[in-house]
Amino acid sequence: MKLLRFFTAGSVDDGKSTLIGRLLYDSKSISTDIIETLTKQSKSTGVDTDIDLALLTDGLRAEREQGITIDVAYKYFTTDKRKFIIADTPGHAQYTRNMFTGASNTDLAIILIDARNGVTEQTKRHSIITGTLSIPHILICINKMDLVDYDEEVFEKIKTDYLKFAKPLGLKKVSFLPVSALTGDNVVNSSEKLSWYKGSTLFDFLENIEIEQEDSTKESRFQVQYVIRPQTDELHDYRGYSGSVLSGTFRKGDQISIYPLGSQTTIEKIEKHGIEVNEAHADDPIIIHLSDNLDVSRGSTIVPSNQSIQNDNNIEATICWMDNKSFQNGQKLIFQQNSFTSKAVIKEVIGKINIHSYKYEESDGQIQLNELCKVHIKTAENVSFDSYKHNRKTGAFILINENTNNTVAAGVIL
C-alpha cells in the first residue's frame, strides 16, 4: 500500500475544513464518539446543517471560537488502496507561513475556489506557493457548486480564468473538479446534479492519481545525520555514518566524494536495520562505512565521484518570510539544509514577487511576513546543493534567526 500526502488551501470560508470533514465522513473514516461530540458542538455554532464538519479539523479553542483555521491540522485516513495524510492549511493571508509548512512535503495540492467568487488573490498566492514548492499535482476544487445552481458555465469560466493566470507559474499537472463540500456532491459520491461533469469524484481522484516514484537513477545524494561510534571492546574501530539516502542509489564499493571538502574514498559497507546490504535507495535510513578515516561529520554530503554537485557559499534563492518581525539588513541567520548548518546573511534582496503579475518587482531591501522574495544569500561555509526544481531534498533550506532561534524563512535554491 502506498502513502499519498496532500494539502488543502483556499481563501477563508471557501470550505476547506468542510471538504476534509466531508471526505472523512462520507468515506466512513470518523468514529461514532467523534461524530457525537461534533453533533453537540454543531448545535452551539449555529451552522445550518446537522453537523458542522469543519469542527473536525479546527482543533484549537481559538479556532472553534472564531470559526477559522489558524494552524495546520493533520488528518489521516486509509482506504483499501492507499493511506492518506492530509494537511489542512489556513486560508487567512496572515497564516500563509503555516500553509507553506503544510504544503512543503506533499505530493498533491488541493486548492479550493468558491464558485461564486472565482479566482481571488488568495488563489493566486496559494498557486504561486504551490509552484514555488514544485508540488507534483494540483487539483483545483471549485466548491459551493450548490450555490450557483450546479452551472457548468460557471465552472468552465473559472477554469479558463485560472489557466490564464497560472500559465507563467510552470505548475506541473493541473486538474479541475466541481464539488459541494456542504452537500457532498462529487466528494465521495458522484452527483446527478453535476451530470454534465464526466470526470471522477474527489475520492476516486485521490485513490488513482499517480504518485511520483523516487527516481533511483537520479543523482545520488546522502547527508550524514549522526556518527555512530560504539567505542566498546568488540566494536572498537566501528565508525558508521548514519543518515537517509536523499536521492538516487548508493552501492557498496562506490567511489565517493565527501563535501564540502571534496575528499575521496570508497564505500566499504552499507548497513540497513543492522543488516549489511549491497545497495540503498532514496529515503532508506542507513549507516555507511568508508574505507578511509576522513574528516566526516554531521552535515557532510556524500556524492558518487563520477557525479557532481554545486558547492558554493553564494546562493540565489526564492524565500518566503515567516517571521512576524520583518527582515533587518545585516540580521545574523543560520542556514539549515537537512542536517547541514552554517551562519549566513542575506546580502541582497533582488526582487519581490508580485502576486498579480507573477513578476519580480524591484525591492526596497525590506522583507515582510508572508512575502516571497528572490535573494542572494552568503553562507560562512560552502553549501553542497542542487537547484530545488531539480532536487527537492538538496535544494531546500530554512533560515533561523540566531538570536531568537525562530525559523524566519523557508527557501528554494534557484
Partner: protein, 298 residues
C-alpha cells in the same frame, strides 16, 4: 516504498536528528505500545551503538504490574539506562493534593514529575510516542514542539516546520518535545507491531477481568485506588486494553483478540476512536488536551 517503510524511515530520520541536534535528550517510555515502538525504532536507528539517550518513565503509581515488569525486562534486555521517577514522591515533596473521587487519577499530577525530571537531568529534548490521530489538539502539534522553561506549549507561536528540516535550536532552560510517530495512526502502529513481530505486555490481549461499568458504559478495572460504592455491579468480562496508562482513568474494551491479527480486525471494525473508548481524562471538556499541553503535559 510501502507506507510502513515510509513511516519507519521518517521516524528513524527524526530520532537521528534528535541525536545530532541535542546534548541531553531522553526518551519518555510508558510501557505502552507507542513507546515500545519508539524503542524498536531507536534500536534500528542507533545499533550497534548505544542509544544517545536514557529511557525515562514517569511512574504514576497507578500502573499495571505487567507493564512495569515489561519495562524492567526490556531495559535489561537491550542494556539501556532506565530512569524512573514517581508521582508519589512529587506529591510528598511538593505537598500536592492526590487525585480524589471515585477514580482518583494522577494523570494531571504526572506533569509535575515530568517537569521535575526534565529539570533534574537538564534534558533538552524529550522524545514521546504521541500521535496526531489521537486527539485534535495533538493534530496541531509540530514534530519538534518547542516548550518554554515552564514546559508550556503555545499553539499560536509554533515554529513553521518545513520539509524534513527540523529546527531544534533553543535557549537554556527550554526544551523540545519530539514526536517521531506523529503521522502514524493506531492501525499503523498495530500493522507495524505485526510486521516487526514486536512483543507487547499481556494486557493488550484478551483476558478475564473483574470490572465495573461506568455511567458512560466504560469498563473500569477494579483496583486498590478505585472507590467502589453500593451501586456498582462487578462484572467479569473478556477484555483487553487499547491504551495503557493510569489505571484509574484508562478503560478496558471487550475483546476476544488473542493475537495481533485479531486486534487489527477488531480495530478495523470498531466505530469508536482509541481515546474515546479508553480515556476518561479527555472527557472533562472540549479542550482538555489543549489545556494540559499548555500546562506542560507531553
Amino acid at each position: 516504498m510501502d507506507y510502513l517503510d515510509q513511516l519507519e524511515a521518517e521516524a528513524i530520520y527524526i530520532l537521528r536528528e534528535v541525536a545530532g541536534q541535542f546534548d541531553r535528550p531522553a526518551l519518555l517510555f510508558s510501557g505502552g505500545k507507542d513507546s515500545i515502538c519508539l524503542v524498536h525504532l531507536a534500536l534500528k536507528a542507533f545499533r550497534p551503538g548505544k542509544f544517545p539517550f536514557p529511557l525515562v518513565h514517569v511512574d504514576t503509581g497507578h500502573n499495571f504490574q505487567e507493564v512495569l515488569d515489561y519495562r524492567d525486562e526490556l531495559a535489561d534486555e537491550i542494556g539501556e539506562k532506565l530512569i524512573v521517577r514517581k508521582v508519589e514522591d512529587t506529591i510528598l515533596k511538593r505537598n500536592l493534593q492526590d487525585g480524589k473521587g471515585k477514580f482518583p487519577s494522577r494523570n494531571g499530577l504526572q506533569t509535575y514529575t515530568l517537569l521535575d525530571v526534565i529539570e533534574e537531568f537538564e534534558f533538552d529534548a524529550c522524545i514521546g510516542g504521541a500521535r496526531r490521530d489521537e486527539e485534535k489538539a495533538r493534530a496541531k502539534e509540530r514534530i519538534f514542539s518547542v516548550r518554554d522553561e515552564f514546559g508550556q506549549w503555545d499553539p499560536k507561536k509554533q515554529r513553521p516546520e518545513i520539509w524534513d528540516i527540523y529546527n531544534g535550536r533553543i535557549d537554556k532552560g527550554e526544551n523540545v518535545r519530539v514526536f517521531p510517530i506523529s503521522n502514524w495512526t493506531e492501525l499503523d502502529v498495530w500493522n507495524y507491531i505485526k510486521r516487526e513481530k514486536i512483543v507487547l505486555p499481556a494486557i493488550y490481549f484478551t483476558h478475564k477481568r473483574d470490572c465495573i461499568v461506568t455511567e458512560n458504559g466504560q469498563l473500569m478495572n477494579i483496583n486498590e485506588f478505585v472507590q467502589l460504592d453500593e451501586n456498582d455491579t462487578i462484572v467479569n468480562k473478556n477484555v483487553r486494553y487499547r491504551t495503557v496508562g493510569d489505571m484509574t482513568c484508562t478503560a478496558a474494551v471487550e475483546s476476544v483478540a488473542f493475537t495481533v491479527d485479531d486486534i487489527i480486525s477488531e480495530i478495523k471494525a470498531t466505530k469508536i476512536s482509541e481515546r474515546g473508548a479508553t480515556r476518561m481524562d479527555d472527557r472533562v471538556s472540549e479542550a482538555a488536551m489543549e489545556d494540559r499541553k499548555k500546562g506542560g503535559y507531553f
